[in-house]
Point group: C2
Chain length 357, copies 2
């Protein structure tokens, strides 16, 4: 079959080895003569998968002692309400940054639980930059930030220094580069970008921070319960955890997060280099805030849209139409996207420029 260059924003490209491993396990799991998806999640074969996945998360991100790693369901959207439920005291205040659509959704859900202070926003320029130099109130129960904004193509390069516990939505850039987990009290991420497929959500929570809201938290929304049950409080999303385990193993095999970061940097440099050089396009986001995961760009002359679209479609490129809130184009370059695919897109952009010279 012909190679598709999959720049989809998520669910997104996965390595061929991971797809093959996942398809194989659906056919036949270990030596059980059974499919992965028809065995008990409490049997030793699946327990080993779940433990391996959690172990790889700890290894790849160098998660320090005193943190629990768990797989949940519901995506980042469920985290938007679980975080205030678990960490925002009755009558308390939480500080949020508004850096785009997903941050706004997190703010909306948190407002049901207490006082939400938006300490920084990039709304004035349609979220094309990351706000800096803002103040986080010291009495806040926590500070919430979205590390990468898929729709707008911005990424936080440096997190603020604060004594307030930091909760970070890393759905779209986790495992893309090294992070210092100890700077965060909570990290969460939907798995379907850099670390697997839709249906599983990763949460890394500092043990001493758990249940700090003092609320009566329903069991399924309580991190402490999920942590104590090692992600098996109820039937976990077996297949999604298996795919995540394979993806983590793939990352380890190619050299870990440090190597992944190098690869992502090279892809982003190639992509943004061409956007900046090419007279037909311009980037959308401030240079210092450009996401290594999602490069957003627009045509200087919108009337050329059909011509450009026809060219990249012919080159077997898929998924680079921009989000409706931004328009233009978005090349998502998650961990599994090979630099060869970026090169194909860059070549199309060059050819498009030549034709229009």
């Amino acid at each position: 079959m012909s190679k598709v260059h999959n720049f989809s924003a998520g669910p997104c490209i996965l390595p061929p080895e991971v797809l093959k491993g996942a398809a194989d396990a659906v056919g036949q799991f270990n030596d059980l003569n059974l499919s992965l998806i028809e065995v008990s999640h409490r049997g030793k074969d699946f327990i080993a998968v779940a433990e391996k996945a959690v172990g790889l998360v700890k290894e790849l991100l160098e998660v320090p002692e005193g943190y629990s790693v768990m797989y949940l369901q519901g995506g980042a959207s469920l985290q938007f309400l679980m975080t205030p439920y678990n960490f925002l005291k009755e009558g308390g205040t939480a500080a949020y940054t508004n850096t785009g659509t997903w941050a706004k959704k997190a703010i909306k859900e948190a407002k049901l639980f207490g006082n939400i202070e938006v300490v920084a926003s990039s709304e004035d320029r349609n979220h094309t930059y990351i706000p800096k130099g803002y103040t986080i109130p010291e009495n806040a129960d926590y500070f919430h930030i979205t590390s990468n904004n898929t729709i707008y193509g911005t990424q936080v390069m440096e997190f603020p220094e604060t004594s307030v516990p930091i909760i970070c939505d890393m759905s779209s850039d986790i495992f893309s580069k090294k992070i210092d987990v100890s700077k965060f009290d909570v990290i969460y991420a939907g798995a379907q970008k850099n670390m697997g497929t839709a249906g599983a959500t990763l949460a890394i929570v500092k043990d001493s921070f758990m249940e700090s809201s003092g609320r009566a938290i329903p069991s399924m929304l309580n991190y402490k319960i999920h942590a104590s049950k090692e992600s098996m409080f109820n039937t976990p999303p077996v297949f999604a955890i298996y795919v995540s385990m394979l993806m983590l193993q793939w990352m380890k095999d190619i050299g870990g997060v440090e190597k992944i970061a190098e690869m992502n940097k090279a892809k982003a440099e190639l992509m943004y280099g061409e956007i900046d050089r090419n007279s037909m396009f311009k980037a959308v986001v401030d240079v210092e805030d450009r996401s290594e995961m999602n490069a957003t760009f627009v045509l200087n002359d919108d009337s050329k849209q059909d011509e450009f679209n026809a060219m990249w479609t012919a080159a077997n490129i898929s998924g680079i139409k921009g989000h409706r809130d931004v328009g233009g184009y978005r090349a998502s370059m998650y961990n599994a996207l090979p630099i060869e695919s970026v090169q194909v897109l860059v070549d199309v952009m060059k050819e498009f420029e030549s034709k229009n010279a």
Copy 2:
């Protein structure tokens, strides 16, 4: 590979056609040259899958007008708290039946939201029967019941007549026989028994009942929002919905719920017939409340356990160890289990009796 007779209580056996279809789609989805799990959930190919799944649910269960069918995440355990959040008024009362472990968990979560009146319980005899003839207070916001109790092997054969809205957890017997959906205001079910794999949860909710609690409900816990977004409020569990679609199609192809019910009845009759006939075993549950999904039974002489275990293991039977709360054995006979597997177990039981004659 040698055939395994998979009596697992869930996740459980799926038809070979469904497993093959699922594995194929992970390798290659439609004619996209992409895997099912690396395409956008908002692309037309996956939207068609989600719509087909919902359409098949409506067709197979003859869901009347005025109900919404949606796929969610989090299993029945998330439904335990979503139901009071959406339907139990502040200061209101809900009526619950306590028919075992899962019912108790539902009660525990609901207690965080209001007054819970347990109107019937089978706890006095370790949940080996279904309580009958109880009264549901007319002022209750709703009445909650678990239709099938996997651990104990009991099943509700007749639901009480009441003017109070009925919420039913059908996780372990949905699609096993015809039901009159119009008698319920809410039906929910984890997919991993009769209708798919772990990671997706079905909810069927009467539109006029939605948001009746009057509470400010977080978006991810609000049925009305999920219904209005056609299960695409956020990234859905793509693979689990695909498997469910395949499983529903399989049920339709073999003749629909009526045919499935016939098959389940035949399996249950074969199984319980042997348990009752065989001098080595006895059934655990009152005759009229015996589940067609999960047959629980024990040895009359526990010292023969190792011998019997060795025999069924040698016959390639898997998953019939009873739950730790009941002991003994449990043969789960979900929709995809062929009667041939039940026959193999029955033959082993007969042989075991002969050997001990």
